[in-house]
Amino acid sequence: MLQIDLWKRVLIWLVCVTGLLLALPNAFYTRVEMSNDAAIEITAKGETPERLEIVDQWPSWMPSSLVNLGLDLRGGAHLLAEVKVADVYAARMDSLWPEVRNVLRPERATVGTFRRQPGPEDQIRLKISKPEGMSRALELVRGLANPVTSLTGAGSTDIEASATGDIITIQLSDAEKLASDDRTVRQSLEIVRRRIDEVGTREPTIQRQGVDRILIQVPGIGSASELKAIIGTTAQLTFSPVVGRGSDPDAVAGAGNKIVPSLDDPGVYFTIESAPVVTGEDLVDAQPSFDQNGGPAVSFRFNTSGARRFGDYTAENIGSPFAIVLDDEVVSAPVIQSHIPGGSGIITGNFTIEESTNLAVLLRAGALPAELEFLEERTIGPELGQDSIDAGKIATIVAFVGVLVFMVLSYGLFGIFANVALILNIALIFGMLSLIGGTLTLPGIAGIVLTVGMAVDANVLVFERIREELKAGRGPARSIEEGYSKALSAILDANVTTFITAVILFAMGSGPVRGFAITLGLGIMTSVFTAIFVTRVMIIMWFERRRPKTIEV
């Protein structure tokens, strides 16, 4: 008959209490948030009395996870970037070219002279003067290939060489292209993450999306352009010998040279050697600092091998200029005054303090392997977010009160039971959201409000059944029992179908749609739990105490 084992009752109430406890920090959002931030600062930067005081605003034995507020509620910037993975192919070919040259050179007798032909950037086209030596040339070039290290590409090599007439075409194999794309995106992801971490904002979301996309969401940042400035620059730093200086962008650069514009002086172009002395990859540190005249500058330090190369070069070239090149623009081209042995130096230019700080961040975080193209940008101001929270709060409260009153009017005491369950339900949703670190968005709030409306459904199903059983003349205990057991299949079927749509929304959606799916899905789970277990325990406990002869639902 009407019985629930003691351990089950304890378990049910325990779940509710845990849910309430987990949800509680959200009621003191700002305070808990400050306390959490201070705790992080203490582990990162050490204790100060003020930080300790802020930490103590929230007792440490209480749960302190909060629901993340989405960008639309907190304000911030959202970017969807596509990594131009194919950029890397050309760079790979350029670095392969000297190797090809080196293996073919000793074999001039068989292959004759050879020259690189113009062609697509992701290929090397090589013309040899003795086509009869082609098979030997191919053999040598193929000897440069390495096996591809990826699961799908097992058994294939990274470069493919083929011959038509007297031309050898070398390019990356398809397997290597796939593996390279994957590496490029991972590396970009890591660098984007480092750059954003350097700036020190809270809880950025940096995720890979699809094959070649990166989703970046940073709360609290002023605008997407600001975010783009931090992550968007490739920050390829090189130190290159200067060949000449002029004002013609189309001048003939000569073999092994290239022409790049000056960053600060429009109309000035430098001819520099393509092969740099040292690159940003040899950098171990970069800090914003000031030059002799007090202007903002960036000081840097090389690793041992970079320092040696830099030292050797400066020792041999005193009196000649060399260029500091950032993303194919000359930041400055100082004349080497003396041998710089220690591997550290300073970049000066017409920087503002902000620019020098950003440049230091970029250099420290390393260069992006490929360019990013921004496909989607969203900036949401914090005021708009606050407005939405306020509006959402009021709407939720009104919806809540409306439904509570309506339930009591319709079902009396049983309505009150359902209402307690409804309140627990919302607490459980917040508790679960905090626990899994879910993000609450504006449509998410709508999802909660919708849950408020729909959560009573399971109870309504049960209560209507109980009414029917009572009408059919059964006793109170029997009616309650039957009401629950008969309504169960409808409750399950109805909620499973809604849950399916929530899961699909979650899987297919992004951003706000996902936020909505999370609250809807959690709402379904918690409302089924409260309807099947919580109200039942309440009704049974009430029934055992009162033993009513008749009940009215």
């Binding site: 709407a395 408020v452 009408k471 299949s489 297919m508």
Partner: protein, 322 residues
């Protein structure tokens, strides 16, 4: 005294004028399709690409002046609308500026936004850009695809679930009701030209969920009654089941509508379109689960006795003698 929206015992006949309801639904469907093809949907930037800027100024806004200021920038098609909302302060004047997708694949350049801010600041000093959202043409097409796929997948998954739990006739009835609801909702969006963006897809799928919820509750009762009242005709069983669950159907729709309407009125203009879609969906979903889904189930007929093997059609082994 209890509040009762539906009398204790009802015995409406839902099927004696089924032709009327089907006609009514068909008319609405035709209107939806016509309005969809005649006017199309007012796609937001999620699906069309482009940029929307939400501005806020303390000065009363003049759409003409804004337009005049922006036009020399040659950004192509722009639309400027003032937003009114009861939750706004008195000196809060909000405008939505929509700019078409620019030629290159990128979303939008920071310079364009800065330039826009500069020209608008001339007209309305101190203007704030409270949100700037930009979707490049490359992504918007994919978003449409994913959205359509999501709706189709959801309907498909549900079809399979109900088929497994009930019978294929039930699944077909429920899915017909779903498609009916989704089409009518899209029709309303086309007719009223409310902005159709990604959030609306979420609303559509919720409608799918809600409508199903309703239909499944009715069907669950039908299944139970079919076993219980073997003598009654299918129409009688359906009528009985709908009447028995009517009180619940109305109760739940009312509580959901209470919640949604308060969100519609008080939730701010940002999600109003989204909430509107759900309100409409709840109403249509309730209607369709009673009239559309059940009528289709009635017309398809259903196998009555699950305990015995069916001895006639519908089964490839049915007429083989052993």
């Amino acid at each position: 005294m209890r509040l009762k929206l539906v009398p204790e015992k009802t015995s409406f006949d839902f099927f004696n004028s089924w032709k009327l309801w089907m006609g009514f639904s068909s008319l609405l469907l035709v209107l939806s399709v016509v309005s969809f093809f005649a006017q199309g949907l007012n796609f937001g930037i999620d699906f069309r690409g482009g940029t929307t800027v939400r501005t806020e100024s303390t000065l009363a806004m003049d759409v003409g002046a804004y337009r005049k200021a922006i036009e020399p920038m040659e950004l192509g098609d722009i639309s400027i609308t003032e937003v009114f909302d009861p939750t706004f302060e008195e000196d809060q004047h909000v405008a939505m500026i929509r700019i078409q997708a620019q030629a290159d694949g990128e979303a939008i350049s920071g310079e364009t936004i800065e330039a826009l801010r500069a020209v608008l600041d001339e007209v309305a000093p101190g203007i704030k850009f409270v949100s700037v959202e930009s979707v490049g043409p490359k992504v918007s097409g994919e978003l449409v695809q994913t959205a359509v796929l999501a709706v189709v997948l959801a309907i498909g998954a549900v079809l399979i679930y109900i088929w497994l739990r009930f019978e294929w006739q039930f699944a077909l009835g429920a899915v017909a009701a779903l498609v009916h609801d989704v089409l009518l909702t899209i029709g309303v969006f086309a007719a009223v030209q409310i902005k159709f963006d990604l959030a609306i897809i979420a609303a559509l799928l919720t409608i799918v969920g809600y409508s199903l919820n309703d239909t499944v509750v009715v069907f669950d009762r039908v299944r139970e009654n079919l076993r219980k009242f073997k003598k009654l005709s299918l129409a009688e069983v359906l009528n009985l089941s709908i009447n028995q669950t009517l009180s619940r159907t109305v109760m739940t729709s009312v509580t959901t509508l209470i919640a949604l309407i308060s969100l519609y009125v008080l939730g701010g203009d940002v999600i109003r379109g989204f909430v509107f879609a759900m309100i409409w969906g709840v109403i249509v979903g309730t209607y369709s689960s009673v009239f559309v889904a059940s009528t289709i189930l009635l017309k398809l007929g259903v196998k009555r006795d699950w305990s015995k093997q069916a001895n006639t059609t519908g089964n490839q082994f049915a007429n083989i003698d052993a």
